[in-house]
Symmetry: C2
Subunit: 485 residues, 2 copies
């Protein structure tokens, strides 16, 4: 947390200068530090770690209540494991490799987990024998490592990032498909209902799915610069891995079969990046009550009885289960107002001699910047209402901001024209997200510099007779096109 | 958790065959799996991870309530950081090194953190400028990596183990010394008060301290085979690191000074190993209520109204904040009794038609193996008493078992004689735990195969005129000698 000695000044237009806004805020709010002496590896500082802890809790609670159990697989993965699945082997190019133990060359080289399918499934082939061993639903909360060659961006693209990976195993395809739907519900609850990040749930085209998956389903959010960010994904793996890792079971009827699998990965670092980005404004962070490390900051305005009153108020707030603090630093109230506003604390309570003598508090709402005076006895009711109101407003505001980038396009030329006015996320009729649509996908990339994100789940299909906006063949999907992080 | 298909049989004499008892129980109770295809790296399975989660919680709560904040430093540490401190460089020999990114040779090699002083202190030299930045109290909960060449033992000595490391910085030596005392209190509260592991708090001899420390203070427990296990330690670092990392601050009087530092590391994997070892018996695990993933297992004995009664009982237990489950598997009650006994669930509730019709429960106490019938209305009171009683008995039992290895010795020959009857942990008068005592330390190692653990904190000094049991010079300390893991 900023000490009094470091003066904070921040005022950047998030809409017009998003990249500068983001890069400045993550450093100045002391969320991360990228001055560590290995490029692309950041230090996660306390203010970020406290929020990351909450995001982990949200997901872990939901995973456990749906039958998942925690586990920890080794960080190191033998090269031979990564090589087993033909597509998955693609991860080899972006992994860090351990080759030395002390001064001694190791007999084999080991990857720092870029993702853990090939560690989990090696063990699953040992653990799973019979139908009575199924389903298996395990998750781990860990950091993963990628030797990124693209430019890194704190919390968004880095060489060490935090996530959860859940690896589930079923006897039947139906079981696995049902799990994918459960993962979608989990993403929706945490990302939208709790963190108030609007997301598109999208089925990726076959040419852009997870390496080794049958189908990839992702949660994308539109960032303030109109670029989409994938913050979570779930994959139906079918028997792709069970066949190469020989994960089999004896079914009730005595047949010996390969299991069906899914894996689910909420990207915790990226989710924090999304919280920061979609909710903040030109004067700094704005944090949802659900995740704010400090929900209420009490700032005493010097005067008689004020310190005692502030401390009693804090105690009352803690008793109501709010995360509250008193800022008793030797500094002007103005500087304190500025700092906590910048750091996105949802509620500031100003306490002066007037409030102390009349049992009132002056409340500043970070989101709307409105001030209100509340009687102490109405406080509990007020805070309940505040939480609901903040939650509603944050989501609507974020949704409106993201939706402004949405546009339709009837052809590549039409899309080009619209893009000359600024970034767009297009919804267009498209021939196919199976491999036969890859040619149109390449046109989108070459002509527009965009990617086919895929088809939104649960969204209506194109109308009868609608044509692919690129090739003119029959459109089987409505797809999103966007630049993505 | 063991599925019905896997029959558990376990009966090993912990006292006479501790090593076999331990190696068997950690696998058979599905705490860990060491069949992963890299030697020395284990899989932490759900039953272990749930307990590990609780041990982390216990320490993190205490660290945070004493002003620590969470942080995450990179896994990778540049070689040059590890080389800065002359003694600390010793860690280089036992580290794993990353040398490749994809196919590309990295310009420098990076260590997998064997411990994170040199990552933290690199950042501290950037963050700390003035007295107003102090104290700094940060911790991280992570895995660390050592390329062990000695034989590994699950949770006790491995290549990847879980711990917490807290790195604290102060303006004065007094501040640092005070922190060491706070760390001791934290260790005592978690290890002794909550987990009921008896520990010796010991100041290590100068020749066996942490590489780079001024002084090392450790918590050792005596394992059932009479070998001691260090499960946590705290180090007074003085200015050893601040001088080489140039961590300085401007004091109030304008002078520019090096900071004083401490670091504290509870070894979470080893603490779990100690819980398993000191409390278990010949029929399996015995878990303290504080840490048991399942505190109460309700086993229905088939009959009228039993299933409903069992489920209502579970709900009641959950409402009282106990971790309770019903075992509804299709299996004989006998097999269920056996499994949950083996897995150390503190309380089994047996529910048959007789209990259901009379609003009673039959309670089996895993620790004492006593059965009692309790009226439903007395249950809350009973469970409260049970928890206190279990806690008290577990500690006394563990303490008595450990203390049986304690012995005095008046000379090396005397010690040798006593050791011919079995393992011993000696308390002996000793010349010095400063460097001038190292010769006697070497005698202890050569003649007895034991290490000088060091001096117990707060223990009385030798009497006036007592002589070192090895060299006969004046004894300045009473020290423990033991074989240690």
């Amino acid at each position: 947390m900023s000490k009094a000695s470091e003066k904070v000044t921040f005022n950047i237009n998030k809409r017009t200068d998003f990249s500068e806004w983001y890069n400045t805020i993550v450093r100045q709010a002391e969320l991360i530090d990228d001055r560590y002496n290995i490029k692309g590896l950041i230090v996660y500082r306390p203010y970020a770690m406290k929020m990351i802890g909450k995001i982990y809790d949200f997901f872990e609670e939901r995973l456990e209540s749906s039958g998942h159990e925690p586990v920890l697989l080794p960080l190191l993965i033998p090269e031979e494991n990564l090589q087993k699945e033909a597509e998955h082997v693609g991860f080899k190019a972006e992994t860090f490799w351990v080759t030395l133990g002390g001064d001694e060359q190791l007999a084999k080289k080991y990857a720092l987990r870029p993702t853990s399918e090939t560690a989990f499934y090696y063990m699953y082939s040992i653990w799973i024998r019979s139908i009575s061993d199924l389903p298996v639903k395990l998750y781990q909360s860990v950091a993963v490592y990628r030797h990124e060659t693209k430019a890194t961006k704190p919390l968004i693209r880095g060489r060490e990032f935090l996530w959860i990976e859940a690896h589930d195993v079923f006897a039947t395809k139906e079981g696995a498909i049902e799990q994918v739907k459960e993962d979608e519900r989990t993403m929706k609850e945490v990302l939208q209902d709790l963190l108030r990040i609007p997301v598109l749930f999208i089925r990726r085209p076959q040419w852009d799915k997870f390496k080794g998956a049958v189908d990839t389903f992702a949660a994308d959010t539109i960032m303030p610069d109109g670029v989409t960010l994938q913050i979570a994904s779930t994959h139906y793996l079918g028997q792709n891995f069970s066949k190469v890792f020989e994960i089999t079971f004896d079914d009730k009827d005595g047949t010996h079969r390969h299991v069906e699998q899914t894996c689910f990965g909420p990207g915790i670092s990226r989710i924090l990046a999304a919280v920061i980005s979609v909710h903040g404004d030109d004067s700094g962070l704005i944090l949802p009550m659900s995740i704010a490390p400090i929900q209420i900051m009490i700032v005493p305005i010097p005067g008689e009885d004020v310190t005692d009153y502030a401390r009693i108020l804090k105690r009352t707030m803690l008793d109501m289960n709010y995360r509250a603090e008193v800022d008793e630093a030797e500094e002007t109230p103005g500087s304190k107002f500025y700092r906590w506003e910048f750091l996105g604390v949802p509620i500031r309570m100003e306490i002066g001699p007037r409030e102390a003598s009349s049992s009132k508090v002056t409340i500043f709402d970070r989101l709307t910047k409105r001030k209100r005076e509340i009687d102490l006895e109405d406080l509990r009711q007020f805070l309940k209402g505040f939480e609901e109101e903040q939650s509603k407003t944050l989501f609507q505001r974020a949704k409106t901001n993201g939706d402004e980038f949405l546009a339709r396009a009837s052809s590549v030329t039409d899309a080009k024209g619209k893009m000359s006015e600024g970034k767009r996320v297009f919804i267009v009729p498209f021939c196919s997200i199976d491999m036969d649509g890859e040619t149109c996908g390449a046109v989108v990339e070459k002509e527009l510099g965009l990617k086919v994100l895929g088809e939104e789940l649960g969204r209506e299909k194109p109308e009868q007779g609608q044509k692919c906006f690129a090739c003119g063949k029959e459109a089987r999907h409505l797809v999103y096109l966007a630049e993505s992080y």
